[in-house]
Symmetry: D2
Subunit: 226 residues, 4 copies
């Protein structure tokens, strides 16, 4: 199937990630969400780890706002942070409550190594590099979930709600916005031919490493490893 | 006159800043805003520098969200960033337009040394230190404007609008919130007797240095130096 | 067996890490180094990952120098960086050459997830926190290798050279120095009773998480997981 | 007079700084060092501020080592840190002692705003940006002193020792090394035509702002402002 058109950088980076991209977006965890065979306890485990993930993901977008160099970039990044911590996280708490996981349990979740690996990689790429490095590290999560959601949209199994969330118009709209933000940020700093520069290779490498760590996140969620 | 009660840390840090605190909050620039004798060109100069200031101030609050270690701290910091970049900055652009300064002029404002000094000190204190260091560096601006606003509230001269903004219930409410955020962050990390620790001295020193740089900002705004 | 006396913080943090501490310092990888049963290909794999590790470890110590707040702390951190990049890394390159791994191969080593997880956790703890957070994240590596080395000193099997390095006087001296640096940094900022503060709990948590990631590093080195 | 040939980036950035470059390198403070008319108390004031400056300058080079992305860059940055904190700072302490300023006095020096402004700008540029941003912010200091030193070499007045230090072979060699480090870092990331990219403009802007803050440093040293 063709990937959603989230922009030029996404198309290039996705291709440069090679087989690791489908290893992530078509991971067994995803396929079992799709066909409904994912055991509920693995889904609940995932929800708890995802709560911890969202905290660090929000911190990474906050760092993006700190590292932005135009008002537009700041507004885009801060709107994302705001949506995450004032809407998505309370919603996540509510969904978990619907599955019998209360907030205290969520907050006491021990962070699994596969979770630590991805979130700290993203944050560190952002701290050590600039806005572009941070975007390349964040992109596999934001846009990969978008690609998965686009494929699973309309799913009717036990994980319909999850599929609806990421396949829905709101999340897909966010992905197109983030894709445009990244393309504009690249052109603004590196010019229209940025893809020819050595910098493009290092950004693609960051995207690729983050993709590998997303595979590890699904492995962890599926219980294939801690 | 007594200072507003923005909490324990503010009271201690304000006192430790000695004469530099009134040198800032009762600076000639402030007194001339109050008695209406501030030349309009100095006010316009201030508005332009303040636009650049707000960009870096927003970045500093975004960094605070990245450095927070509880959901409550993240929500408080991200709400402030959001208010700054989605409300305060557009409002600032509008106010400047009312004074004949268009957005292109604002964005082309060369950042004065006194402006660079304060904003970079705050951001660097945050990057090199932790959430508490960042709060101590941000506090003189947030809470100092609160104290000035509380004193100038009800002013009827040419700078009534400015006085109303910082003396008004919204801004004063923000100051009480930020004061509580700081006190809670200190107690959360350092316990109830934090004021006895060596760390308290270094935080007070950061607050004091930031206060001295606020004096420099007013000097610059008044034209006493670049 | 008793642990080496690398200072107060080490003793407290080590204990707070519970069973994860021996899971790291008495990991099967270590025991096989000791009894000589570690397959050579796993040792060579470890050497290659360790090269990448040392780069990020050096970066973390450089960040410590940037975050120091006294000349003594800067000198200690910068001496460590200098030893790492001007002595230890060239030595590592030489040792690898002795095992038939040339420098180009070393530099092309794909960084394994278990390696990424630990190094990025350390660097991010340092960027988001202050000097103390960075020390708590670095300590399990520096001092854990010290404890392992002290236990394996005098080993005569195929991994004698490795045991001699970490069990030798130079490395043991470094561990005592780092232990003193950490204790002094804690007392300097938090006073003599720092262990009673909430901050002590969060630092112990950072040390514990880093210890868990060291277990993951050995797992990876042993081939138990990528 | 022609500038020393410290490389391509220096030549471009120096030119882009316009009149602010000679305002810095031919500042009255420098001219009075040259003709020997600088009052000794201003020189002693400068020495004390320079001690505080060197601490933050060393921290900035340590940050560069943390942000490097090759072993060569790390080695260059860490060698500079090491020379600064283990040689230059002890030497500075000794020189000050020769002028009757003891170490306790040096360490108690209140950091002047013009000093804060420059050092925090450099560090913040490094934290918010990447290795290149940090180099562009550091370059005016390293290479500007080199250009001044080259011009004042052979001076025989009361400030002969200062002129000999910066005009001497060691310091001039460092400048050529740093110039090469910067050119190589640019080419490595942005390719041979980096000067055509928008990024080049923002780097030149960072260099220019840092140059303006160096003018402010001399103003402060001369007593023209705090």
């Amino acid at each position: 199937m063709t990937a959603p058109d989230y922009g030029q950088a996404f198309a290039l980076w996705r291709q440069a990630a090679g087989n690791d991209w489908p290893a992530y977006t078509q991971h067994a965890f995803v396929e079992r969400l799709k066909d409904g065979t994912l055991p509920e306890d693995r889904f609940l485990y995932y929800l708890k780890q995802d709560y911890v993930f969202l905290i660090h993901f929000s911190r990474a977008w906050a760092l993006a706002a700190a590292k932005a160099d135009s008002l537009e970039e700041m507004q885009a990044a801060s709107a994302t942070v705001h949506a995450l911590v004032h809407e998505e996280m309370p919603l996540h708490v509510e969904i978990c409550a619907g599955h019998g996981i209360d907030r205290a349990t969520l907050e006491a979740t021990p962070e699994a190594p596969g979770n630590l690996a991805y979130t700290r990689f993203v944050l560190e790429a952002g701290y050590s590099g600039d806005f572009l490095d941070l975007m390349a590290a964040l992109a596999p999560c934001v846009l990969g979930y978008g690609e998965i959601g686009a494929r699973l949209a309309g799913n009717t199994g036990p994980y319909k709600a999850w599929c609806d969330t990421y396949g829905g118009a709101d999340y897909q709209g966010l992905c197109f916005d983030v894709g445009r933000l990244i393309d504009a940020a690249l052109a603004r700093r590196l010019g229209p031919d940025w893809a020819q520069l050595p910098r493009a290779t290092s950004l693609a490498h960051t995207f690729h490493t983050a993709t590998r760590l997303e595979v590890g996140f699904w492995d962890m969620a599926l219980g294939a490893r801690a």
